[in-house]
């Protein structure tokens, strides 16, 4: 497939991204670069200096809401990518209302409890939508441990082991690897039946 063919398919697709931290901001930028037509992003948090070791934000954006900061970054990369930004803490109801019509959803939360809540919501209410999760990305090195596990249309990227701790922080290289595995899986799913 040529880049023009790829772009013409992706320009009609909508990808949901739940969370705009390390996974969400990096996955969103990759997807905007390749020409996804619409991204629906959501996060209630603001950009903090401590985020810049892995998240796709700039010093001058500190204090801004992440969802709007990311929307602006993407407008500077690919203005044709429509970004619908929601300053909201996602729960069962808002996940179902925001993401009912996306082609694929990326889970990009920080806390395991939120990941589990989103997964349960998707299984119960939107099980037809492919869900791409991140689980196990803290620390550095150990590339070979990072993998994709699939459970029907639920895909889990990461090493499945390393939990974020004070002495095992999330850092740009591994976080971006997992974020881009998620973005790469989106392309695989969206381009699969379009040849």
């Amino acid at each position: 497939m040529t880049i023009e063919e790829i772009k013409s398919i992706l320009s009609h697709k909508t990808v949901g991204i739940a969370g705009c931290g390390g996974l969400g901001s990096n996955a969103a930028v990759s997807l905007a670069r390749v020409g996804i037509g619409k991204l629906i992003i959501a996060d209630y948090d603001v950009v903090d200096l401590s985020n810049l070791n892995r998240q796709y934000y700039f010093i001058e954006q500190i204090g801004e809401k992440k969802c709007f900061a990311l929307q602006r970054i993407i407008s500077h990369i690919n203005p044709q990518c429509c970004v619908e930004a929601h300053d909201i803490k996602l729960d069962h109801e808002t996940i179902v209302s925001l993401y009912a019509n996306v082609d694929v959803l990326i889970e990009a939360f920080d806390k395991a409890e939120m990941k589990a809540m989103l997964l349960q919501t998707m299984i119960r209410s939107l099980s037809h939508i492919p869900l791409i999760m991140g689980s196990g990305l803290a620390g550095w090195g150990n590339f070979a441990a990072i993998k994709e596990q699939s459970y029907e249309n639920i895909y889990v990227m990461g090493d499945g082991e390393t939990e974020v701790r004070d002495d095992m922080p999330p850092l740009a290289p591994r976080v971006c690897i997992v974020a881009n595995m998620q973005a790469n899986k989106v392309l695989e799913l969206l381009l699969k039946n379009s040849v």
């Binding site: 969370g19 939360f109 997964l119 459970y151 390393t162 939990e163 974020v164």
Partner: protein, 67 residues
């Protein structure tokens, strides 16, 4: 009992087996696990009272903080 656990066929040496017993047996001890049986999610408070049947497709998805 023959089960499919995380996409792998396995034989568990037990006549009866609850979800809670299976998780212990498999050392699935992560704080956050979402369990699906034959595509249906099982609530945490039902692990001890949900019995598995021959041929059940069990998926235990581990979720770890960080993102």
């Amino acid at each position: 009992m023959k089960l499919i656990i995380n996409n792998n066929p396995e034989i568990i040496d037990a006549e009866t087996l609850t979800v809670a017993e299976l998780l212990t047996l498999k050392h699935f001890t992560f704080k956050m696990i979402v369990v699906k049986i034959n595509g249906k999610p099982i609530d945490k408070n039902e692990y001890a009272t949900t019995f598995l049947k021959e041929g059940d497709n069990v998926q235990a998805i581990h979720l770890i903080s960080g993102g």
